[in-house]
């Protein structure tokens, strides 16, 4: 019983990190309709941004901020210099998908060249472990979960109450119609990428802090887990992304009790495939627009 509670505790932390990253991915996927396989690298460059910041400051907030800014800058540049010029030529969507794969390959190996391939220790100062209900969390875990909640609420408010959020939802439904009604779609898409990068960069920081070290593949190794959470929750649905992340995070950690740890990701993938087969629109939605 204690094992299960412990696993659930881990699962909640994992879920918080996945949830933050998934919200960003899901939002970007629904607005631009491009499955971004460089999303993991946005997390990676964010984490390394925090590492660089850590060399000159002990302030966690500044480290997190630098992670977000680095992630955001890369995402912005990726859309501005690569995706958008191609998108103007109206290629098949899969071509844009391939571009993100190429960007992922470039970024991951660039990080490898600059910082080397070995694991680099990364720790944030944390207070003592605290017992909350049946779970025991370190201060670091609490910080991660707290910031995850703040980001969720922030994204929710952004989507529901601002014009930017409204425009995003309009573009997500139909870019052509949004354009006709006078929305500057290119600008909204560009800002969406920026937002995606900011959040992904922060998620990279949280992941590195939680794992305690970072390597050039840290983000990429989580990429498909994040896709799994996004698909399970339904692409473009913020609450779905949270629920999907919770389900995937818990399933991964609890399964590790019964199966070798390397099967953790396989469990997430099984959930992804099952969702696609049974309810491709996501488990927590009612529409089935993504099914053919």
């Amino acid at each position: 019983m204690d094992d299960i509670l412990l696993a659930i505790g881990f699962g909640l932390v994992t879920a918080a990190i996945i949830a933050v990253s998934t919200v960003a991915l899901s939002l970007q996927y629904s607005v631009t309709n491009i499955p971004n396989f460089a999303h993991g690298e946005l997390m990676t460059v964010g984490a390394y941004g925090a590492l660089v910041a850590q060399r000159s400051t002990d302030n966690i907030l500044l480290q997190a901020l630098s992670a977000a800014i680095v992630g955001g800058a890369f995402a912005w540049a990726m859309n501005f210099f690569i995706i958008q010029p191609f998108a103007r030529r109206r290629p098949r969507n899969l071509v844009l998908f391939i571009l993100t794969l190429a960007v992922s390959l470039i970024l991951q190996n660039a990080v490898l060249i600059v910082f080397g391939g070995s694991n680099i220790g990364f720790s944030v100062p944390a207070s003592d472990a605290q017992q909350i209900g049946p779970f025991i969390f370190t201060g670091q875990d609490l910080l991660i979960m707290g910031s995850a909640v703040v980001i969720m609420v922030g994204v929710h408010l952004l989507l529901r109450t601002t014009k930017f959020g409204k425009a995003q939802r309009a573009i997500s439904d139909s870019r052509e119609l949004a354009r006709v009604t006078g929305i500057n779609a290119d600008r909204i898409v560009q800002l969406t990428w920026l937002l995606d990068g900011l959040i992904a960069g922060f998620a990279g920081f949280a992941l590195a802090a939680s794992v305690g070290s970072l390597s050039p593949t840290i983000g990429n190794s989580f990429l498909l887990v994040i896709f799994a959470a996004a698909v399970v929750g339904g692409i473009g649905r913020i609450y779905g992304a949270m629920a999907g992340a919770l389900l995937i995070g818990l399933a991964m950690e609890v399964s590790a009790l019964y199966l070798p740890a390397d099967y953790k990701v396989a469990v997430a993938f099984a959930l992804l495939i099952l969702t696609l087969l049974i309810r491709p629109g996501g488990l927590f939605t009612t529409n089935r627009v993504v099914a053919r």
Partner: protein, 334 residues
């Protein structure tokens, strides 16, 4: 030096076979299959356990079979096993998924199989993999080591020739046109009474079979196979080969695969050396491939040798870049 050239060329030829596999699925049918290495690995493993000996390295070494049959059976087994895997995965993933979801499913399936093979030791000996696979006809021929290398190169070239002829026949046949029709406009092809699902699944299985055949040759070349031999990034190399050479064109595929495997992979290995940084050269190579993919898609999306035009149609664009279509245009002929 000659040995090196022969082995580089052999590997290049095996890469050509991989690239033909992906050309069938992506180049002609427009399916972005990110699982080619799944079929390559299945082919390699099945070949290894059919041709290779039973495990004898101590109590912790396990793999199934170890039949020590002649290599032809190994090739057949690899083809059948890869085909069955393609039928299962394609049969599930092609049925109702949108194209980007299909791609995600193929990646995920590859990683899942990878995890299982690496973890479940009794199947193919986990991370250590299967080893001691004898080379085809090595005992019967009794050649010197370098003469045998040349013979093996010839063997691979013969298999490549068969694959090439097979692909040319498909390309020129009505069936090849059907595949391209599905790529260009699924709805139109369906309107002409074609079963899109079946056509895609057939193309997908053909791709899997060819990839499995290539995988078998790879295992014969390496004489061993383990999970480290299939890195996800290798899939990009195959796609880079297709984009550079010209997707949909059989000669373009040949050119692209040799360009990537010989020029990009080997020449950079020789000349780009960064002292004190062992990973950097490989990383730089992958970066070059990434930049190459983007550059080719931007400046020459049809590749160096574009797909030959079908008679009086608008030129199909192999990388899938289609000009904006006026609303009133009827679906193109198929």
């Amino acid at each position: 030096m000659i040995d090196y050239a022969v082995s580089t060329l052999t590997l290049g030829i095996i890469w050509c076979i991989f690239t033909y596999a992906v050309n069938t699925t992506w180049g002609w049918t427009g399916l972005l299959d990110l699982a080619p290495f799944l079929y390559i690995a299945v082919g390699a493993y099945v070949y290894s356990v059919i041709v290779g000996p039973p495990p004898n390295g101590g109590p912790s070494v396990h793999w199934i079979l170890g039949l020590q049959l002649p290599f032809v059976f190994g090739l057949l087994g690899a083809i059948v096993a890869a085909g069955i895997c393609g039928l299962i995965l394609g049969g599930i993933a092609l049925r109702r998924l949108r194209d980007d979801y299909f791609s995600i499913t193929t990646v995920v399936a590859t990683l899942t199989v990878y995890a299982v093979i690496a973890q479940f030791v009794p199947l193919f000996n986990g991370y250590t993999g299967v080893y001691g696979v004898p080379q085809p006809l090595v005992k019967e021929l009794n050649l010197s080591a370098s003469a045998y290398q040349v013979f093996f190169l010839g063997l691979c070239a013969a298999v490549l020739l068969i694959v090439y002829i097979f692909m040319e026949r498909i390309f020129k046949s009505p069936y090849g046109r059907l595949l391209r029709a599905v790529r260009e406009d699924e709805t139109a092809a369906a309107a002409f009474g074609r079963n899109i699902y079946r056509v895609k699944l057939q193309a997908y299985v053909i791709g899997a079979v060819v990839a499995g055949l290539g995988g078998a040759l790879l295992a014969a070349f390496l004489q061993a196979f383990n999970p480290y031999a299939w890195n996800a990034a290798e899939t990009f190399l195959i796609y880079a080969a297709i984009f550079v050479g010209g997707s949909g064109n059989n000669r373009g595929v040949l050119l692209g695969a040799l360009f990537i495997s010989v020029v990009v992979q080997e020449l950079t290995r020789l000349f780009v050396v960064i002292p004190g940084h062992p990973d950097a050269a490989a990383a730089l190579r992958y970066m070059i491939v990434g930049v190459l993919i983007i550059a080719v898609l931007w400046w020459r999306p049809q590749g160096l040798i574009p797909e030959p035009r079908d008679h009086d149609e608008a030129p199909p664009d192999p990388a899938g870049v289609t000009p904006p279509r006026p609303l009133e245009t009827a679906p193109s002929d198929v």
